[in-house]
């Protein structure tokens, strides 16, 4: 089988199978209120797409989750770097990160909602979800940095800044970026969940909630499909970034970063 045929089939075959299963289930249920078919959802999606509401909601959600997720990731990486440099920072921050990681997201959403406007809650939640993941990945990668290279850096009188730039940064970057991918996936789900609960004015989560409230199940599916598609798009963008770094890593002789 030709390579391009295989690539197309790898996308189309699962799509066809699962859409078929969905259609069969919808036909078997026979009630659009409970389970609309894929055709009806596609129809609603096509109707929603050209509306300003759709784009405003999609862009606002994307902006919130991406901003929050990116700030959380940056914060997590920074805390990991500071923890590696100063042990007391590690003593203080490790339990904090572990508590954040273990706390149910719903509790966080409700708590943050007490303190912030509804529009900020998804961003804060996205930050809280991504920070511990990137912190864990960065801390692990810093700990795994080749001790022989660090000994070489000391013997060859590298400054701290040079050691960070030439030894630590290239060693940890691939692992950190892989952590960012996982973190953004989590941030996306949690951010939309926060929107559903807090219902900011412009948000995909709010539209999901409104669709459920007005019993427009096809709209509920359509908005959810938008969330899933945007999640895939963001995931894909990060994957490209990761692959670019991976290629560089191979050029560096890293193998799998």
């Amino acid at each position: 089988m030709k390579r391009w045929v295989k690539r197309v089939l790898r996308v189309l075959l699962p799509l066809a199978v699962w859409l078929g299963v969905w259609q069969c289930l919808a036909g078997w249920v026979g009630l659009e209120l409970l389970l609309p078919g894929p055709g009806r959802v596609l129809e609603r999606l096509a109707a929603l797409c050209p509306t300003p509401l759709f784009w405003r909601a999609a862009l606002a959600t994307l902006g919130r989750v991406f901003l929050g997720g990116a700030l959380g990731a940056l914060g997590g990486a920074l805390v990991a770097a500071l923890s590696a440099r100063w042990e007391p920072v590690d003593w203080v921050m490790t339990p904090m990160m572990k508590v954040v990681r273990a706390t149910p997201v719903a509790s966080f959403i409700l708590l943050i909602w007490l303190w912030c406007q509804a529009g900020w809650v998804p961003a804060v939640i996205a930050a809280l979800m991504s920070a511990p993941v990137v912190w864990g990945a960065t801390a692990q990668a810093i700990g795994d940095t080749d001790p022989q290279l660090l000994e070489m850096a000391r013997a060859y009188r590298f400054s701290r800044w040079k050691t960070a730039r030439l030894v630590y940064l290239p060693s940890v970057l691939p692992a950190v970026l892989a952590g960012c991918r996982t973190a953004l996936g989590l941030a996306w789900k949690a951010g939309v969940a926060a929107e559903v609960l807090c219902r900011p004015r412009r948000a995909l989560g709010t539209q999901v909630y409104n669709a459920k409230l007005s019993m427009e199940t096809a709209d509920l599916f359509a908005w959810t499909a938008v969330v899933v598609c945007l999640s895939f798009a963001v995931e894909r963008a990060l994957w490209w970034a990761w692959r670019a770094l991976d290629r560089r890593g191979r050029r560096w002789g890293h193998g799998d970063p």
Partner: protein
């Protein structure tokens, strides 16, 4: 250079027990002796006592993400960067400036590690197995280049040829 009363233990194993060493302060000195006798340990002990020396590790310890030329400039002040071509010529890596370590053979990587040590500069050079994987004629040419630097060099290595090419040989005997 003198080291008095050197004691080094790795757990139960005693490598040196109150030993004295006198290292010549000129020319090329080969530190020889059977494996495990403490050649690397002595080099490291010397490096600890003489931080102005440049030390070549037994492993290459190259940075996979830096080119050959960058490995040298990373350890040199800007004012000395003009010496890069001379150092690369000494270790016979001219023309490989833009190569990454994984593009080099084992012997070339070893010579790059040596070049980086030379680029660092210092009062003396302490070289642990500088010629692993380097062919004999090249070893000899590089040794002549090292001699021309005019700084004391203490190196470890194997082979009768090396003993014949250096200025003096310091043989380590096993403890006890």
């Amino acid at each position: 250079m003198e080291i008095r009363d050197l004691t080094v233990r790795y757990g139960e194993k005693v490598v040196f027990d109150h030993r004295d060493f006198s290292i010549p302060d000129r020319g090329l000195t080969l530190l020889s002796g059977p494996s495990g006798v403490g050649k690397t340990t002595l080099l490291k002990a010397l490096f600890e006592r003489c931080p102005a020396a440049a030390f070549l590790f037994q492993e290459d310890r190259l940075l996979p993400w830096r080119t050959v030329a960058q490995h040298l400039t990373d350890v040199m002040p800007k004012s000395r960067r003009g010496e890069v071509p001379d150092i690369l010529a000494l270790v016979e890596l001219t023309g490989e400036e833009d190569a990454y370590p994984h593009q080099l053979s084992g012997g070339m990587a070893r010579r790059l590690a040596l070049a980086r040590c030379l680029a660092l500069g210092g009062e003396r050079y302490l070289l642990d197995e500088p010629f692993a994987g380097v062919d004999l004629p090249r070893q000899r040419r590089i040794l002549e280049g090292l001699r021309a630097l005019g700084k004391p060099v203490l190196l470890t290595g194997h082979g009768g040829e090396l003993e014949a090419w250096v200025d003096q040989v310091l043989t380590l005997e096993p403890e006890g």
